[in-house]
């Protein structure tokens, strides 16, 4: 199978702290992988390594056939990273951010696409606004519009619904679903388990930087077939898996 993202033995250490330990997984086109885990599990570090922001301590990341360590520029051209806290250049307007992104990724029909994205994100009329004039939710939408402008093959999302209102959340879910249907691979990190359950085809549960479970919800449920295994919700499974990880922790 031709995967958009292939990760093998990914590790990330901060000094003496092992934030990510030996993650191995792959994501196919059109697939949405949910990255879940408790606070400090290593989700953001994993996403930053996948986006080429943090250099992994060891392991291999291949995006759309490009090795992120060797062909970083080509790999980055195929992906979009949408962080939980959107960061912008303070002196570029909304429209100039799209223009800037278009030049970086060589999107020739960016004006057409940009207008459509701004409309989709309900940012029409805000073209001349600076980031400082936007609300938290609007910034999140602008980050998504910039991320989607070059039609990436891999979309990495860290808590994508933070700051969005209920209508924005509904639109965002539909937008993510559509990108997946169009063939993009999505890796979505979120604490909102209902969202993960609703959107993701497979789950990667991590705790303490290690992969605790990988597979579809049904597969994970079947693997943990306890007395109430079949009817267990994702929340039940999450608690069970992460509690097990806690007990496996070596003594300090």
């Amino acid at each position: 199978m031709d995967f958009v993202l292939r990760v093998a033995g990914l590790e990330k250490r901060y000094g003496a702290v092992n934030a990510v330990q030996g993650l191995t997984f792959a994501v196919a086109p059109g697939e949405v992988l949910g990255l879940v885990g408790p606070n400090g599990a290593g989700k953001t570090s994993t996403l930053r390594c996948l986006a080429g922001i943090l250099p992994p301590t060891s392991g291999r990341v291949v995006v759309a056939g490009y090795d992120l360590a060797k062909d970083a520029v080509d790999a980055k051209r195929e992906l979009a990273f949408l962080p939980d806290e959107p960061r912008f250049f303070d002196y570029l307007t909304v429209w100039e951010h799209l223009n800037f992104t278009a030049r970086l990724y060589g999107v020739e029909d960016w004006e057409e696409r940009g207008k459509a994205l701004l409309e989709e994100m309900e940012l029409t009329g805000k073209e001349k606004a600076l980031p400082g004039e936007l609300s938290r939710g609007m910034k999140q939408k602008l980050s998504i519009a910039c991320g989607f402008l070059h039609s990436p093959k891999l979309i990495l999302l860290d808590e994508p619904l933070t700051g969005l209102d209920p209508i924005g959340i509904r639109r965002m879910k539909a937008s993510l679903r559509r990108r997946a249907e169009e063939g993009a691979a999505l890796v979505l990190s979120s604490h909102l388990l209902p969202l993960v359950e609703e959107l993701c085809h497979r789950l990667l549960v991590i705790a303490g930087g290690r992969a605790m479970a990988l597979g579809s919800l049904e597969a994970i449920r079947a693997r943990l077939s306890g007395p109430e295994g079949e009817s267990a919700s994702l929340e039940d499974l999450f608690v069970r898996i992460t509690s097990a990880a806690e007990t496996e922790k070596p003594p300090p």
Partner: protein, 576 residues
């Protein structure tokens, strides 16, 4: 646990943890070296000065009078500001953390007031300590008394400002009536002060000749001792008297009035107390927002700036790194700092020339502007790289954003450097053009011969020197991210951070000078052989060779720095 013991716990625990964190950091060699350099600097600059061996006679009367008047005037200005300047609201400021943690806590407003007053008095003690280190030795033979006296003075002034803000808040609630009442009262006080100054000047006019030593000092002495002015200055002189005490008995005799004054101000603050929570919350939010914007290299202002157009239309086709140059040039247009600094320098230069009595500035401006333009262009090579910062120094706080871009490290570094280099270079060429066209400003045949060849040489060389300066400053940010804070908030604090900055400054100077050596050598190798045939016109050719070598050095540096940028991992100092 009572509120006061909770606050003491908060302060002690915070201090202990901060100290522990700093000590832990010393395990890393770069922090240890920084701490040692910082300690050495503090000792050599400040602490060595505490070795007082002097006596009363060591402080000349003129210096003492000047110090006393400076302190008195500072105190009066503080009092005037408290009543006349700023908005009508309580001056107590709380941090966002204090608002969130302390305001909902089960404590009275009075407890919060005392908490803040205690913080203010701690600030006064820190201010007194710095004043003792910086000026104590110059104005007082007894540093201990100077510190205690300065602490009492600053503390009383803090209480006065707090009480004044409470009174203004009360009057502010009366609307126009309160405003009129305040300004009428202020007007009466100012009129009385004006009258006192006038009568004193009438009695003691400015001496006709001030050339003889001591004449000016004697006049000031007689002026401040005249009945009118001495009455105006009396409260402030009372306040600063303990700080200027010559010995223990002097200090003890000056102490009681100040203690009474401080106590009276405390009672006044208690009696004048007004609700301050709403104002504190608003101010805390504003400060947090402004700090966040400053940290990301932004400005608190926004809307109007967006209307300033982009320098050119950015097509979607072409080299991607041009987008970064375009972005930084837009930033330049929408920021004011650098251009304001250059304009201020120009104005300052003109003012200095005018003050020096250079009459030609008004009669033959062209001749003054010539040398001024050339001098400023040369100065820009040193000052420009520090003033124009729309490069990695501005963008590194957004490292995640830069690293996610589909650009190689050298492309990011090169493009980030380019915008600042283009702006500084353009300014230098503009200033040189003005300078060269205006002429040397003197009828000197030697200067006339060198003017154009020298100017052309500078035009070739200066932009490259500025580029090299920019490169060194950006390299420091990338290579030592923990030493050189890229954001303006300067997160690193403490003695080791001071040492690191000193080392970085010295390192930058050394690297710049070492980098200039091969360029100078190349300039000499090309220029000297051509001198016999081209004479002064060999200078531009030598400069061109030097410039080419410098540019090549920067090019190599960009490639190397690009690799360092790709492997830059700030997570060591910024854990997830």
């Amino acid at each position: 646990m009572s509120f006061s013991s909770a606050v003491v716990f908060l302060w002690l625990a915070s201090s202990r943890n901060r100290l522990r964190l700093q000590l832990q950091r010393l395990r890393r060699p770069r922090y240890l070296v920084g701490a040692l350099v910082g300690l050495g600097y503090v000792y050599s600059i400040f602490l060595r000065r505490l070795e007082f061996g002097g006596t009363l006679s060591n402080v000349p009367p003129g210096v003492r009078l000047f110090a006393e008047l400076s302190l008195v005037v500072s105190a009066l200005v503080t009092v005037f500001s408290a009543w006349a300047l700023g908005p009508d609201r309580p001056s107590l400021t709380f941090t966002e953390s204090e608002v969130v943690q302390l305001f909902p806590a089960p404590v009275t407003r009075r407890s919060l007031l005392h908490y803040k007053l205690a913080r203010g008095l701690m600030g006064a003690a820190a201010g007194a300590l710095f004043a003792s280190l910086f000026v104590g030795r110059l104005v007082s033979p007894a540093p201990g008394f100077f510190f205690l006296g300065a602490f009492l003075s600053l503390g009383t002034l803090y209480l006065h400002s707090t009480a004044a803000s409470f009174m203004r808040t009360r009057w502010g609630e009366w609307g126009t009536r309160g405003l009129v009442a305040r300004w009428v009262a202020l007007g009466c006080v100012l009129a009385a002060v004006g009258l006192a100054v006038y009568s004193s000047l009438e009695a003691h006019p400015f001496p006709r000749t001030v050339g003889t030593p001591g004449v000016l000092r004697n006049w000031v002495q007689s002026l401040v001792e005249s009945p009118g002015l001495s009455a105006v200055l009396w409260p402030a002189r009372l306040l600063v008297a303990p700080a200027l005490a010559r010995d223990a008995s002097d200090f003890l005799s000056a102490l009681p009035p100040v203690l009474v004054l401080a106590l009276a101000h405390y009672v006044w603050v208690r009696l004048a107390e007004v609700p301050f929570e709403e104002s504190a919350v608003t101010q805390a939010e504003t400060r947090t927002r402004e700090r966040a914007q400053r940290a990301s290299g932004g400005s608190a202002r926004g809307g109007a700036l967006a209307s300033r157009k982009a320098p050119f239309r950015l097509s979607a086709r072409g080299r991607p790194e041009v987008a970064l140059i375009w972005k930084n040039l837009i930033t330049r247009r929408r920021m004011t700092g650098g251009v304001v600094s250059v304009l201020a320098s120009l104005l300052l230069g003109c003012a200095i020339v005018a003050m020096m009595g250079e009459s030609r500035f008004f009669t033959d401006t062209r001749r003054v502007l010539g040398p001024l333009g050339v001098s400023l262009a040369a100065m820009m090579a040193v000052v420009g790289p520090s003033v124009f910062r729309m490069d990695l120094r501005m963008d590194l706080p957004k490292l995640d954003l830069l690293r996610a871009l589909p650009l190689a490290g050298w492309q990011v570094v090169g493009a980030e450097l380019a915008a600042s280099a283009l702006v500084v270079g353009a300014l230098q060429l503009g200033l040189l053009t003005v300078g060269l066209l205006c002429g040397p400003g003197a009828e000197d045949p030697w200067l006339a011969t060198w003017w154009w060849p020298g100017g052309v040489a500078l035009a070739v060389l200066l932009p490259t020197v500025s580029l090299a300066g920019l490169f060194v400053q950006n390299a420091a940010v990338v290579l030592f991210p923990a030493w050189v804070p890229a954001d303006r908030t300067g997160s690193a604090r403490g003695i080791e951070a001071l040492g690191q900055r000193l080392l970085t400054l010295v390192g930058s100077l050394v690297v710049s000078l070492v980098g200039l050596l091969p360029a100078a050598l190349a300039g000499a190798v090309v220029g000297f052989p051509l001198w016999s045939s081209l004479e002064v016109w060999a200078l531009p050719l030598g400069a061109a060779a030097a410039s080419a070598v410098l540019a090549a050095e920067v090019g190599l540096g960009v490639l190397t720095l690009g690799r360092a940028f790709e492997h830059l991992d700030v997570s060591e100092d910024r854990p997830e």
